[in-house]
């Protein structure tokens, strides 16, 4: 069965590029455009991995991350923070909240993303 990946990303173009790339790789992609939608979707679907942006409208990524790691049913899902923030204090904060990894979008290609997913999913 195809692995499910949740992409939380408010930029429409980045979201569609990422989704397209993951789908060609054979993953099942679920998308959320903001923190609220992400939390709502997580109540129904349990993905194998979450790509989480930090600067999001309404509920931001740090808050979503906190909720994911507090909830018993989602706690174990690996979270890769995928943001264009990336100052040392942001990385530090995300790791403290339980993020598995931190990637600055502009510094990676989608091929790097695929590699990272394969590495995290084992």
């Amino acid at each position: 069965m195809a692995k499910k990946i949740l992409i939380v990303e408010d930029d429409e173009f980045l979201r569609s590029l990422n989704a397209k790339r993951l789908e060609t790789e054979g993953f099942e992609v679920i998308v959320a455009v903001d923190g609220q939608e992400a939390i709502a979707k997580l109540a129904e679907i349990k993905p194998d991995l979450i790509f989480l942006d930090l600067l999001l409208p309404n509920v931001d990524g740090f808050e979503v991350l906190t909720k994911i790691k507090q909830d018993e049913s989602t706690k174990a899902i690996p979270v890769i923070v995928f943001s264009n923030l990336g100052q040392p204090e942001d990385i530090e904060k995300a790791k403290k909240l339980g993020a598995n990894d931190f990637m600055v979008k502009a510094n990676f290609t989608l091929d790097d993303v695929i590699q990272k997913i394969k590495q995290v999913l084992g």
Binding site: K20, L55, N84, Q87, K105, T109, L110, D111
Partner: protein, 332 residues
């Protein structure tokens, strides 16, 4: 006439020769002398007192004047202090505004840049459908340009982090040989396209692990080697040399040189090389894009390690950059 009365000249005469009379005379003289002396002393003391009083009055007047002047100066100083305080506050808020501006703009820039980069990358890799040779070449150029902008944005962010002292350093014993080899490995594509050869020379003996921030020193090596490759001639050489000759000096440290056979530094521009945003005129000619921040960041990082960095003309027209890394990190 009763006896004992001085009523005759004879009696007076007798009295004049009596001791009582002379005693009286002496007594009167003594009294006069004592009084005279006392009076003289008294008048001279009075004069001295008057003089002193005059002097004191003058001094008091002077002191009052000085006091007034001091008060004025004090007020001026206070005003200056307030001014300085305000200026400092303005500067701080300006600094934080600048910091915020940079972090917001860079973030806002990075999002569309990531989108452009991913699109080019997917296009080049054929993930968006088949494209012909010519289009592929253009897309590759597009990708490279995007990468350049991204690296400038990253440099701006780094400078801001370092300037605002936000950058944190984690010093740990690090295998410097492996680090250098890994950084050199990153340049394999670039050296191929530029036909530049990178050679690594290290001591035969095993080198101790210096206490450094690995990520930051990686940045330094990438910067220096990138410059050495970028500003080289086709078919040129880059020598990275690790030396332990300073291990027995007062402060044992390692020394790393990056020596190139490149275009060199124009005379007259040497002093500005480590300045923020400065780019040598011949470097701009060879490589129009660049932030002029690499060497500035490099020096900041080396100084945080309490090392030193300098450069010299190497053989021919090239340049050699050398920096030292103390083996042990002492907290300042």
């Amino acid at each position: 006439m009763a006896s004992g009365q001085l009523n005759s000249i004879f009696d007076l005469f007798i009295f004049l020769f009596s001791s009582t009379f002379w005693l009286l005379v002496v007594f009167v003289f003594i009294i006069a002398a004592v009084f005279g002396y006392w009076y003289r002393g008294r008048s001279s003391r009075t004069q001295i007192l008057i003089k002193e009083a005059n002097l004191k009055t003058k001094q008091i007047a002077e002191l009052e004047k000085i006091n007034r002047e001091l008060e004025d100066k004090n007020r001026e100083l206070y005003a200056k202090e307030v001014e300085l305080l305000m200026a400092n506050r303005r500067l701080q808020s300006l600094e934080s505004a600048k910091s915020k501006f940079i972090s917001v703009t860079t973030h806002q820039l990075r999002t569309p840049l990531a989108a452009i980069k991913w699109t080019f990358d997917m296009g080049i890799k054929g993930q968006l459908g088949k494209i012909d040779e010519e289009a592929l070449e253009f897309m590759k150029k597009g990708y490279q340009s995007t990468e350049r902008v991204i690296s400038i944005v990253n440099d701006l962010l780094r400078v801001d982090t370092i300037d605002s002292e936000k950058a944190e350093f984690y010093f740990q014993p690090t295998n410097i040989v492996t680090l250098i080899e890994s950084v050199i490995g990153e340049f394999s594509n670039q050296t191929k396209s530029r036909q530049v050869e990178i050679v690594f020379k290290k001591p035969e003996k095993e080198v101790p692990f210096p206490e450094i921030d690995e990520g930051k020193i990686r940045m330094v090596l990438e910067n220096l080697i990138d410059n050495a490759v970028k500003y080289n001639i086709n078919g040129g050489k880059v020598l990275v040399e690790l030396s332990d000759s300073r291990l027995n000096s007062a402060e044992s440290s390692l020394q790393i040189s990056v020596i190139d056979s490149g275009i060199g530094i124009p005379s007259g521009e040497e002093g500005k090389l480590f300045q923020k945003f400065f780019r040598a005129s011949n470097a701009i000619k060879q490589e129009p894009d660049g932030s002029g921040l690499g060497l500035y960041i490099t020096r900041e990082i080396i100084e945080k390690h309490r090392g030193a960095i300098w450069f010299e003309k190497s053989q021919g027209s090239g340049t050699s950059f050398t920096f030292t890394l103390p083996l042990h990190h002492k907290k300042v």
